[in-house]
């Protein structure tokens, strides 16, 4: 089954009666604290469960999937990433994250050029489960239009899409 994360969520929700959607709230609280200290970084979300950590000094956004997304996907066993140097438009499919259960497409949350990919994930895809929004980042995109970040969701808006 190949599907966007959003579709996957819907299907697992109906197929499973177990509470698989719990996200440890402490991690968000800790990160919110860290954000206040490093005010140059803006963390935004998409309804497709991508997260962008944008540094307005360098104009680079670090793209990943949300902690909520990894918890729904389960054990990630394979990550396909875009090529370094690729030019991507917001909404383009740029890769995929696969668990045993399903494949989920990753869409570019912002437009720009792929500057770096997280090579560690090819040997250690499970890092995505351990640290989705930090060490398990997928790629770094140099934004062509930084104002796109403003239109992405805040954590509260994002959480409201699935809570």
């Amino acid at each position: 089954m190949q599907t966007g994360l959003r579709t996957l969520f819907r299907s697992s929700r109906t197929a499973s009666s177990t509470p698989r959607f719990r996200v440890a709230p402490t991690s968000h609280i800790l990160r919110a604290g860290a954000l206040q200290i490093r005010s140059l970084h803006i963390k935004k979300y998409t309804s497709e469960h991508e997260v962008v950590n944008f540094d307005d000094e360098t104009g680079v956004g670090i793209v990943g999937i949300t902690d909520h997304a990894q918890s729904v996907l389960g054990d990630v066993v394979f990550v396909e990433l875009p090529a370094v140097g690729a030019t991507v438009q917001q909404g383009d499919q740029i890769g995929a994250v696969e668990s045993v259960k399903a494949a989920s497409d990753i869409y570019a949350p912002v437009s720009g050029t792929v500057e770096e990919i997280n090579e560690t994930l090819s040997n250690e895809p499970g890092l995505l489960n351990k640290s989705a929004e930090d060490k398990g980042w997928l790629c770094k995109i140099k934004l062509s239009d930084p104002s796109e970040v403003d239109k992405l969701m805040t954590l509260e808006e994002y959480k409201a899409t699935w809570e």
Partner: protein
């Protein structure tokens, strides 16, 4: 049955069944009894298997076929006696199977054969069905019974006294591991389930059930089998009895016997795919990418093997093991090699 239980991941559950023992609540499956003097002949009309020569308290995988030889459902049939069979069919096919059985029982009972001794089907409503699976399944169950389980070899069944309950236990399952499928009367399901789910037994969900059966090369109805696939195409010719190949006499025989003789145009095969896992619906091509050869019907990254395994249907001529093909995943062709199934070695108790 949920996809998983608690916070235990699919891979951890999967590995637990391969290394120790897990229990699956498969009570959603449909259990039925067929009784009557002509029950053997009736079921030999509905399926291509040799049920007359099947020994009492033995089971076989078989298929219910439509007039075109297409598979209505796959099923495990257990013979208790020539006039008594226990049949387990898929939950997803419940309604159409019910209609099919009703129609065919009525047709049979009004025929000359049926008048010799009518056949009746009793659905075991609300009965439990638990599958205890894994290399430690036998030692766990043995601790709960005086019955010598060494005598109960793969593909046979018996009524086994388990801590005061007398339960129908069939040795087999859907994981490729040694194990038992245990049928439980409605009033005893909870107690028996509690008895069978103590450590080291873990509750295993649908997610791991799917990855285990795929590693074992077993079909999932709806994915790998449907009403347009025949048992010959599906690589299930072995369920067609030797004598039945001569005499026919089952629904769908014309197509099935012709395909046995001439070979099918498409065949179910196993694949190992490089790079990304191929999922249901991924197209199979010749290595050049020019010629479309077939389609993947099930595929996962195998937890046991660490490779991407898949099964699918491919044009005859391309079906030999070792043949290199290409599978399209996210618009890219990935190299794949035809690989015999099961992907992981079966571990059955054959005595």
């Amino acid at each position: 049955m949920p996809l998983s239980y608690g916070d235990v991941g699919q891979v951890a559950s999967h590995n637990h069944v391969r290394k120790s023992v897990g229990i699956f609540d498969v009570g959603h499956m449909v259990q039925s009894n067929f009784r009557g003097k002509t029950a053997t002949e009736f079921l030999e009309w509905l399926t291509p298997s040799s049920l007359s020569t099947l020994k009492p308290y033995s089971s076989t995988l078989t298929v219910l076929l439509n007039e075109n030889g297409g598979i209505i459902d796959d099923t495990i049939v257990t013979k208790h006696a020539a006039d008594a069979f226990y049949v387990v069919t898929n939950a997803g096919c419940r309604d159409k199977d019910l209609a099919w059985f009703q129609q065919k029982v009525a047709e049979w009972n009004s025929s000359d054969k049926g008048k010799e001794g009518p056949v009746e089907r009793e659905v075991l409503e609300n009965w439990g069905l638990l599958a205890l699976q894994g290399p430690e399944a036998a030692s766990y169950l043995q601790n709960l019974t005086s019955f010598d389980l060494r005598q109960l070899t793969f593909g046979t069944s018996a009524f086994v006294p388990v801590e005061g309950f007398n339960l129908h236990v069939a040795r087999g399952g859907y994981t490729g591991e040694d194990g038992f499928e245990i049928s439980i009367p409605p009033s005893q399901t909870v107690e028996v389930a509690q008895l069978l789910s103590k450590p080291p037994v873990q509750l295993i969900g649908l997610g791991a059930r799917d990855s285990l059966r795929l590693e074992a090369g077993m079909c999932l109805y709806g994915n790998d089998l449907n009403e347009t696939t025949t048992p010959v195409e599906a690589g299930l010719s072995w369920v067609i009895g030797k004598d039945r190949r001569e005499t026919g006499g089952f629904i769908g025989a014309e197509t099935v016997l012709r395909q046995l003789k001439e070979g099918p145009s498409t065949r179910r095969v196993g694949l190992v795919v490089e790079g990304a896992p191929a999922r249901q619906g991924a197209k199979i091509f010749a290595p050049s990418g020019q010629e479309e050869l077939g389609v993947v019907t099930s595929g996962i990254p195998s937890p046991t093997l660490g490779k991407n395994i898949a099964m699918g249907y491919i044009k005859s001529g391309w079906h030999k093991k070792g043949t290199e093909v290409a599978v399209e995943v996210r618009k890219q062709l990935r190299k794949a090699v035809l690989t015999p199934m099961p992907f992981s070695k079966a571990n059955y108790w054959r005595g």
